[in-house]
């Protein structure tokens, strides 16, 4: 009986994973489809055309470039701002600490449509300063990414041994040198993880971007526009490429953790 139960659960887990991965397989599969009509919903035949001429869809290349530019820039700024907030919250006791925690938590617990709508309300009422476009997308992305960066870096900082920094200072290092030589190398992995998360959130964001983009196209906006008219396999090609890069990084990390776990302690 125990044996059966154990295997029922394993079978379920494998089924659930299949459910999670099925749409991904479909996305990749249909990037090789040769659709006859405007829509790419039914399998017709195999072709590599859309991988070779991935940018043959009007506006796709520009949209992808814009998405990457916004993603890199917003991630860079948000990682810097978020890490500093995390350092302040974990390291210092100051008046307004819990208010800061709340301010960081709130954007994560507000529906995206409200975040997007309120930013649009700001931009519409201050159109002398803000014209909708690349920079308003950038502003919006930094705003909603920062909180995720804070949370990710904070988690790492909490388990951090402060004695290392005190030792550095005792040995005559200034605060800046201590940060550069001790603190930064220790929190760099967390910052990298946070930055990857931030970039993933940015490149995938539709709702907030859609409300604040004006005429600028990002990749998700292009897909939205296409969804009503025709979605060529080029879209699947780009989505598959993004997925493959992300999963390669993810698998690299899994492998690294696995090796680290197998290595004897202290080595």
């Amino acid at each position: 009986m125990r044996f059966v139960k154990r295997h029922v659960l394993t079978a379920y887990a494998l089924l659930a994973v299949a459910y999670l991965l099925l749409p991904i397989a479909v996305v990749i599969m249909f990037s090789f489809n040769a659709p006859k009509g405007r829509f790419n919903y039914v399998w017709q035949g195999f072709t590599l055309d859309y991988w070779i001429n991935w940018n043959s869809m009007f506006g796709l290349q520009d949209a992808v470039i814009t998405s990457i530019q916004v993603g890199l820039l917003a991630t860079l700024v948000a990682t810097a701002l978020g890490t500093m907030i995390a350092l302040a919250i974990v390291r210092h006791h100051f008046v307004g600490r819990s208010a800061t925690n709340l301010l960081v938590f709130l954007p994560m617990s507000t529906p995206e449509i409200v975040l997007g709508a309120s930013l649009l309300a700001l931009f519409l009422n201050t159109s002398a300063i803000f014209q909708l476009g690349f920079w308003t997308i950038f502003i919006a992305h930094v705003m909603f990414i920062v909180s995720f960066i804070v949370v990710t870096v904070k988690a790492r900082l909490i388990g951090f041994d402060r004695h290392l920094e005190e030792a550095a200072m005792d040995l005559g290092a200034t605060e800046l040198t201590t940060f550069r030589k001790v603190t930064f190398p220790l929190i760099a992995p967390a910052m990298l993880a946070a930055a990857l998360l931030g970039f993933a959130l940015s490149i995938d964001d539709f709702v907030i971007t859609y409300l604040n983009a004006g005429g600028t196209q990002t990749f998700p906006l292009l897909v939205w526009g296409a969804a009503r008219v025709s979605v060529p396999p080029n879209v699947n090609v780009v989505a598959s490429a993004i997925f493959l890069v992300a999963i390669a990084i993810g698998l690299g990390n899994v492998f690294w953790e696995y090796r680290k776990a197998r290595r004897p302690q202290g080595a």
């Binding site: 394993t10 999670l20 100051f94 975040l115 700001l122 919006a140 200034t174 696995y258």
Partner: protein, 285 residues
């Protein structure tokens, strides 16, 4: 710079906070004020005037209560579906997967690596009336000859469930992974059956994960409009669809703004009721 920090250590946290907090104040808090301002305007595009137009709110509720109800209903069902689907999977990963743990965690977040809109469109392929799923269901007479899965309540809720699944699974995993295995052994030593152990030890100890997962799934699900737009029909419109259409298509900013506020308020109320039900200490962790 170092010496400045040395002389004024009290300022260090504020200097660290300043840029990020300023950004959030300027582009998160102040926009909410503008949203409030806009929600009380009257007139039509592009000439809106601030007139303390509180009727925007009452009109919004009376015109769109159906969409509000639907949003919360769909989000609620999807959240429960996520919980029921995710719990056994995550339980297996935490207790049985051994060295495969990290790989299976990667599988859970894998959908996030595919652009949201594209992975939602993939369900169009899967549920399409010409596709194998509908074919199979028609073959075994679960669906009628001309029955379909797409453009239905089922399709919209399935889409939401799929898209927000990782938000439920990850916090659940964290709470199960941190669970002290000695408590399970203790239960066994005290002759609890495996069902009793699960119901009286595992489940209560994973409550923080259930609570966090429920919130992380329900909040974005209630504001979602992509699943309803792509997998449903106008009969499945959620409040997110109305807000974005008012902003970008009919340019009725005051109504859109008041709807956004009501959505936020309704979610807050739902949170409070939920906090009441589960105990507030579990909500804050």
């Amino acid at each position: 710079m170092g010496s400045f920090f040395h002389r004024h250590p009290r300022f260090t946290p504020y200097l660290l906070l300043a840029p990020g907090v300023l950004w959030l104040a300027l582009f998160f808090l102040i926009p909410l004020v503008f949203l409030a301002y806009q929600s009380l305007q009257s007139g039509s595009y592009p000439d809106f005037e601030f007139t303390w137009e509180f009727s925007n709110f009452t009109d919004a509720v009376s015109d769109y209560h159906e969409q509000f109800f639907r949003s919360f209903l769909y989000a609620g069902i999807a959240t429960i579906a996520c919980l029921l689907l995710a719990y056994p999977l995550v339980y297996w990963i935490a207790f049985r997967a051994g060295p495969w743990r990290n790989l299976f965690l990667l599988f859970i977040v894998a959908p996030f690596f595919v652009t949201y809109l594209v992975r939602t469109l993939a369900w169009l392929n899967i549920l399409s009336s010409e596709g194998p799923v509908v074919g199979l269901l028609r073959g075994i007479h679960i669906l009628d000859e001309d029955g379909q899965l797409l453009y239905s309540t089922f399709a919209v809720i399935s889409g939401i469930t799929y898209n927000f699944f990782p938000f439920m699974a990850l916090p659940l995993y964290v709470s199960l992974e941190q669970l002290d295995h000695r408590t399970l052994e203790a239960a066994k030593d005290l002759y609890a059956s495996s069902t009793q152990t699960f119901l009286r030890v595992t489940l209560p100890l994973s409550a923080p994960g259930i609570v966090a997962g429920t919130l992380l799934t329900f909040i974005p699900a209630a504001g979602d409009f992509i699943n309803a737009a792509l997998l449903g029909t106008p009969r499945h419109t959620m409040i997110g669809n109305v807000i974005q259409a008012k902003y970008l298509e009919s340019l009725d900013y005051p109504t859109a703004a008041s709807l956004s506020f009501i959505l936020m308020g309704a979610i807050l109320v739902a949170l409070l009721i939920y906090a009441r039900a589960v105990g507030s200490e579990k909500l804050t962790g």
